[in-house]
């Protein structure tokens, strides 16, 4: 039965497809393969999600070596949720990428682009699926190395420098993670995360374990771009090819958030991280800083992609804010925002990619009156922008609602006020786009623009419609997130 191999199938498919693409040396075939692989990964992930929806755990022993000796793939409701998210975004972006990549990447590099794309997908799915600490590091590096290449393919030469800086900071982050895993390995003698969790309580008071927690926290926060470790993110997102920005913005940081959750709740347990240590307070302070400072910086950006990149840093602040509450509602808010923000930012960067097709860099002074010539794109950006703000009827509202609930539950009314206040900053930067696109006369250059090709527009609008659909009917996403939160808290105790 193939279905018993599902936990590893969605990782193996893209890994096998990558060398085939290199051998085929043909952009069209590579694109077909990448699309097929992403969609089959999505199908597998959805099947897994349905399988673990009741809170059960699927364990898969690679090569039939029983855990904890062999590498175990362990799917529970937390990572099944994430697998669906990552493969869903990958599938939509794969459809989108054909026209976008054709315009932005030299023709002879197309097959290599798609090779890197599926490798990055394999890495991200692998991080989510694996139950082994060292395996996690290896997949982290697979996804990181391929994303450095993808970013460097941007048209602007600044993409090279952005990729280099990301490589330096990303490698430092990954090395910190591997130091943390190493210290835990030294203390427990196991790399299997579940086994590690069972053995840690005997040694939690020792210094190596605390050092491991510190290394893991800093390393993972570098990868998830928690303020002030976000410096690699704005340039990387701004200068990467549009399809890459959309894919990475929607998935890479989200997977890192998952890794943080996994280590905090499953491996260390919340009593170690939040009760004995002031991690909640630290995360809270950094999240607030991200929400306010990054949003403020975003307001003053001239480049639209950079603006939304800084907004990503701010939105990550909301996710970590949810984690810092250490409550079921807070975790639900964090996980649901993971999904919602991925949809929103995916939609935004995909729509902007349609503009970038003709313009290259998108600066506010170049897109005055854009709504006249690209009405569908502009309207999509406005809808996704409303979701960033958190207007009722969009996914952003659902996340903010649960965040505010969690804040009130924790007895911090002032925090609820700050969440609303920081949303007002989002109003300012989204309004900047509305003002420029709708209330200015199009210049001659702008009036020559036309809507993006149908495949790009359709893929982008799938995301925009998702933003509204899951905003109106949040039962699937919130249900999945609540189940995931319950799983995390259940194992942690």
């Amino acid at each position: 039965m193939i279905s018993q191999h599902y936990p590893v199938l969605h990782v193996v498919l893209p890994l096998i497809a990558a060398p085939v693409m290199v051998l085929a040396r043909h952009g069209g075939i590579a694109w077909l393969l990448a699309t097929a692989v992403s969609w089959s990964s999505l199908a597998v992930s959805v099947a897994l999600f349905a399988q673990v929806a009741d809170g059960s755990v699927v364990s898969y022993a690679i090569g039939n070596w029983a855990p904890p000796w062999g590498i175990e793939y362990r799917i529970d409701s937390v990572n099944a949720f994430l697998l669906v998210l990552v493969s869903l975004i990958a599938s939509v972006v794969a459809i989108y990428s054909r026209e976008s990549v054709a315009a932005e990447v030299p023709r002879e590099q197309h097959y290599l682009f798609y090779t890197m794309y599926v490798l990055c997908l394999a890495g991200l799915l692998g991080i989510a699926a694996t139950g082994d600490g060292f395996n996690l590091f290896v997949f982290l590096e697979i996804s990181s190395l391929s994303s450095y290449v993808l970013i460097a393919l941007g048209r602007d030469r600044r993409a090279l420098m952005a990729s280099y800086q990301y490589l330096i900071m990303g490698t430092i982050g990954a090395t910190f993670i591997v130091i943390g895993v190493g210290l835990l390995f030294l203390m427990t003698g196991t790399l299997n995360l579940a086994d590690m969790a069972a053995r840690l309580p005997g040694v939690t008071e020792t210094r190596p374990v605390l050092a491991a927690l510190a290394f893991l926290t800093v390393g993972i926060c570098l990868k998830l771009a928690l303020f002030p470790l976000h410096l690699w993110l704005p340039n990387a997102y701004a200068y990467a090819p549009s399809a890459v920005t959309a894919f990475l913005a929607a998935t890479a940081t989200k997977v890192s958030v998952y890794v943080l959750l996994r280590f905090y709740y499953t491996v260390f347990g919340e009593s170690v991280v939040f009760a004995a240590l002031p991690m909640g307070g630290i995360l809270l302070a950094l999240s607030l800083a991200a929400m306010f400072i990054a949003s403020t910086i975003a307001i003053f950006q001239d480049d639209v992609k950079r603006l939304f990149a800084y907004s990503s840093v701010a939105q990550i602040g909301y996710i970590t804010l949810g984690i810092s509450f250490d409550s079921a509602t807070g975790l639900t808010a964090a996980i649901v925002h993971l999904f919602n923000h991925a949809l929103t930012k995916g939609a935004l960067f995909m729509l902007l990619g349609g503009v970038a097709l003709h313009l290259g860099r998108i600066r506010f002074r170049d897109i005055g009156g854009l709504a006249r010539v690209m009405p569908l794109t502009s309207f999509g950006v406005v809808l996704a922008g409303l979701s960033l703000i958190g207007v009722p009827g969009t996914v952003g509202f659902v996340s903010k609602w649960y965040l505010v609930l969690a804040a009130l539950e924790a007895g911090a009314g002032w925090l609820a006020a700050l969440i609303v206040l920081s949303s007002l900053l989002a109003v300012v930067y989204v309004w900047r786009f509305v003002e420029v696109a709708y209330f200015r006369e199009p210049s001659e250059a702008v009036s020559r623009l036309k809507e993006a090709p149908p495949s790009m527009l359709a893929a982008s609008w799938v995301m925009v419609v998702g933003c509204v659909y899951f905003g109106l009917d949040a039962s699937t996403t919130v249900g999945g997130a609540a189940q995931a939160a319950a799983t995390l808290l259940g194992i942690g105790r």
Binding site: F137, Y148, V149, R158, Y164, I172, I179, G182, Q301, R306
Partner: protein, 122 residues
């Protein structure tokens, strides 16, 4: 256990800090990568050194082999070395491209060539 008894950890820390310092302090892109490689090397030592037991043998199930050194760290680090090589190779390839695009591999000269985007600092 004395301070000297932990000497392998001291060496690990010194190597790690030396590498990290080079990454931060040097403006030359190649030197930064060298620092990064040194930093990663310290992790290899962190994993390998505790795997060795004094008087331990290879892990053989037979008479006379009671104490053995753990072979797992070596296998892990073999993987980590491969990852490190790939990172270094990709980093150097990027530096080559940067040199072609900017004509320099000094960070400040490169950043000076592109006008700093507004709003870089709050």
């Amino acid at each position: 256990m004395t301070v000297a008894g932990h000497y392998s950890y001291w060496i690990t820390i010194v190597i790690a800090m030396a590498g990290l310092y080079i990454v931060i302090a040097r403006g030359n892109l190649v030197k930064k990568l060298v620092g990064l490689a040194i930093f990663q090397t310290s992790v290899y030592l962190l994993y390998i050194a505790p795997g060795k037991l004094i008087g331990g043998t290879a892990p053989i199930v037979a008479e006379g082999f009671a104490v053995y050194s753990n072979p797992l760290p070596h296998v892990l680090i073999l993987t980590a070395i491969v990852v490190g090589v790939a990172t270094l190779a990709l980093g150097l390839a990027l530096v080559v491209r940067i040199k072609e695009a900017y004509g320099s591999i000094e960070e400040d000269e490169i950043l000076g060539q592109d006008p700093a985007p507004p709003g870089r600092t709050p």
